[in-house]
Each structure stands twice: as structure tokens, then as C-alpha cells.
Amino acid sequence: MAKKPFERPFIKKLQAGMPSKFGMKTQAEPITHIDEVAVPDLLAEHGSPLYVISERCIREKYKKAKHAFTTRYPKVQFAWSYKTNYLDAVCRVFHQEGSWAEVVSGFEYDKALQNGVKGSQIIFNGPDKNDEDLKKAIENDSLIHIDHFDEMYSIIAIAENSGKRPKVAIRVNMDTGIYPMWDRFGFNYENGDAWDAINRIMISEKLELVGLHTHIGTYMLASNAYKVAAGKLADLAYGIERKYGVNIKYLDLGGGFASNNTLKGAYYPGSDTVPSVDEYAEAISSAIINSELNPRNLPTLILESGRALIDDAGYLLGTVIANKRLSNGNRATIVDVGINLLFTSFWYEHEIYPAAPVSEHMEETTIYGPLCMNIDVLREAIAFPLLKKGDQFVVKRIGAYNMTQWMQFITLRPNVTLIDTSGKVHVIRKEENMELIRQQELIPEHLK
């Protein structure tokens, strides 16, 4: 007779309490496949842990977002936020779909050029652009978003020497009714700084003011904040048209749309509280269309959404290293994915699923990473199935920021793979090795 599959013996005390009408599912549904590719096959082929990105998911998310905006507003342009995930293969999927590039450093700017993006389709944001970066951006006709007056005068000085008239926008911060108000980027709307910047640009005539930009925050759960922001940008654009007779070519509402991840401390899961892309699109489009701007000559609407377009496409696969009991009898599971690979575990209660079917039994568990650091905790308390050493699991929705803010720390960073739309798996970033790390180091003569 064939032996039965073994599950760890488990006993749990039943706690009487108020029943909740928001009751969560008590059984963990496994994620056995990603885009029809079996999780165990991916791990056997490429090692554990492993990042997996679904190209199909990226394209679907992008098309859905584009549809939401283009059905409400006549001129829409997306610009891929490089800092969210600047692996070349990922950027190229977005560029193939029609996205421009939104970069915030000279490094990201060069990456965008190397990915084949035309200079005139690169939006250069961020507070740190040195003179070399600015010269390059001016030479390539890129759209430079001015963050502060020091930068404005640097651009004016470079323009005087180059004979070119740089295309610029100003970054505007504002009160949109949310807390905390982001006022570190650009010039304030309410106190008149934004108008001050606009006047200096218009009077100098060295720069061509083509756009207005704002980045009101990140993981925004209130679509109405975008309505306020779009209304204020439209108001500025209308003011410029009246005062200087210049049509602003685009309004850039930045990014900050939330993904369905659940923030730490949130009462309800993100899937229940996050506005849909249609809600964001409706808020922004209606505010501009209903503004004083001439509907026959509306500016292009630029969106720099990152997280909402890539988070769902990313998965982090891993393996259980060990189980143990903590001093209070609670279970702890140690896995081979640490916070150095899952930076977003500082913000999110990430969803973690078994990679194979499990019984209905779950145990409250703390999930630790493999780093010898007390802070290496992926989940403080999660109802988790009875996985044992060697069992595999999948962390869902990790496509944003983890592949840019990750750290080579204690261990090496693993392979990153992309499953293309036909189901073929490609390594898009090779796992690190000792040679790669050491080649950057130099040993002084007296220590050799």
C-alpha cells in the first residue's frame, strides 16, 4: 500500500470569541504555478530563493491602466518609473507598450538611454541632478523637472553656454487634504513659491516651460487627493496661459497609486481598501476636464505610476530552512528569504503561500529570514500552514522596489527570472557570486 503524505502533527487551542462577518479564509490556497510554470521546476532550475516576474501580468496591468485613462481623457502618456524596478528587461516591456521613462538620477538616465528610449521621451525628476547630468539631458531634449531654485539657476547657466533652450517643468507640492503632506519636492502651490518659479522661468526666457508636475505622495488610498492635485495644476496652467499666453503642453500627476498589498497596521486588507485604477483615472481626468482650461487644447496627461503596474507581476519563491518554538510556545519558521531581498516587508504584511497543497490546519507563526539579525522578520504573526524543512513557498506581489532597494548583505542576491507571454523562462539578472563582489574590493599593499 502506498504511504500517505506526511504533515507535521499539529494541535491548536480553540479560542472562543466574537464571530467576525469579515472572516478570512481559514485554508491557505497554494500557488503551485506562475503563468503555467510549476514553482518546484522554477526552483530546481534556478535555485532558491528566486525572483520571478510575469511579463503577461505587466502587460495586462499596463493595458488596464491605459484603458482606464484613455477612455476618460484625450491625451495620455505613461512614463515608467525606473526606481520602482529598473531591471532592463522589465523597463523594455514597459517601453514596448509605449511608456516613456521617468528617471531620478544620472545612473537611471543612462539606463533609459541604453534601453533605447529617445532623449525627448525621458522625464528627469529628482532633487540630485549634477551639471553633467543636466548638460546631457539638455543636449538630448529631455524633459527636466526642476526641484529647487539652485537647480533652476544651474540649468539657466548651462543653457547660456550651450545655446539650447532646455525644456523644463516645475515640480509643485501642495496641500491635497492628506496627511502627511509631501512638501520636499519642488515648489509650494499655496505659499506662492510655484508662481515665483514660473515667473522667473518666463521672464528669463532661457528655458521653455513645457509642463507642470506634482508627486503628492506614495501608496495613496484617497483618489480624491489626485482630484485636488489635478485641479491645482490645471489652475496654474490656466494662469500661465492668461498671464503669458503660453500653453502648457503637459500636466504630470506623478505616481503613488497603491497596489493591493496590505500596509502594516492596516485593519482591512489592501485588496478591500485600495482604489481601483478607474477611480484614480476618474478623479484626475474629471478635474482637468472640468477646469478653466480650453477643452479644445488640453495638455497631455502624464502618469508615472510604478508600484501599481509592477507589484502584482513579481513573486519571490523560497524554501523553509527550519521550524522552531519560541519561548512562549509559538511557532517560528525560518526561511531562505531575508529582508535584504524583501525590503518591502518593512511596510507590508506580505501574503505568503505554500507552493503545494496543504491541509486546512494553520498555526500562528512568526516567519524569520536567514540573516543573523534580530530585525530579519518577514511576518510577525501570520496564520501559516504546517510547512516543514524543504517545503517551498511563494511571496506574492513583490515586483515594486524590491529589485532596486535590495541589499547584498550576508548572503548573495539570487537569480531574477522573467516568464514571457509564451511561458518561456528567462534569467534577466544572474545570481551574484564571490568573484563579482570581490572584484570591487582593493587590498592595500601592507595587508596582502
Binding site: 503524505p5 502533527p9 499539529f10 491541509s359 490546519h361
Partner: protein, 84 residues
């Protein structure tokens, strides 16, 4: 190591301790182990029976078995060992 005599175990995976009034849920493997403990089987006997029926080697089983026993102790479901 013996389970307390008044502990009730249902076939559907519930355990009831009438002394404290506490109820517990238990999985299939745990239920079988509790059954063997009720029959006064030794850890070695339980290991050989379980490794006969399940896809598990004796070393791995021992690890999970003693973890399970520690939880039974924590929940005060085992008879206290005879100190003599």
C-alpha cells in the same frame, strides 16, 4: 508518556479537556499519535508505526514528534511523568 485519561478525542479532529473546559483542533497525524499514546505505545513503537504508514523517515519524524509532545505538555494534556 501518557495522555490524560479523561481527555476526549473525536474522530473529526477535536480534543476536549473536561478538567479545564478547553477544546483543541488537531490534524490527522496528530490524531493518530494521540491514539497511539492512549494505547500506551512507546515513542519507538509510534515511530515505527508512523514511518510505516507515512512518507517520513524516522529522524524527521522524531523531530516533529517531540515538538508535538512539547505542545501537549504546554496544553497540559499529558499525565505528569512518575518522578520515581
Amino acid at each position: 508518556m501518557q495522555i490524560k485519561k479523561n481527555i476526549a478525542i473525536s474522530e473529526t479532529g477535536f480534543v476536549f479537556n473536561p478538567t479545564t473546559g478547553d477544546s483543541y483542533s488537531i490534524n490527522q497525524v496528530g490524531q493518530e499519535i494521540l491514539g497511539y499514546l492512549g494505547e500506551n505505545k512507546s515513542p519507538d513503537e509510534i515511530t515505527s508505526l508512523m514511518t510505516r504508514d507515512y512518507e517520513i523517515d524516522p529522524q524527521s519524524f522524531e523531530k516533529y514528534f517531540y515538538d508535538f509532545i512539547s505542545m501537549l505538555k504546554q496544553f497540559e494534556l499529558l499525565e505528569l511523568e512518575n518522578e520515581n
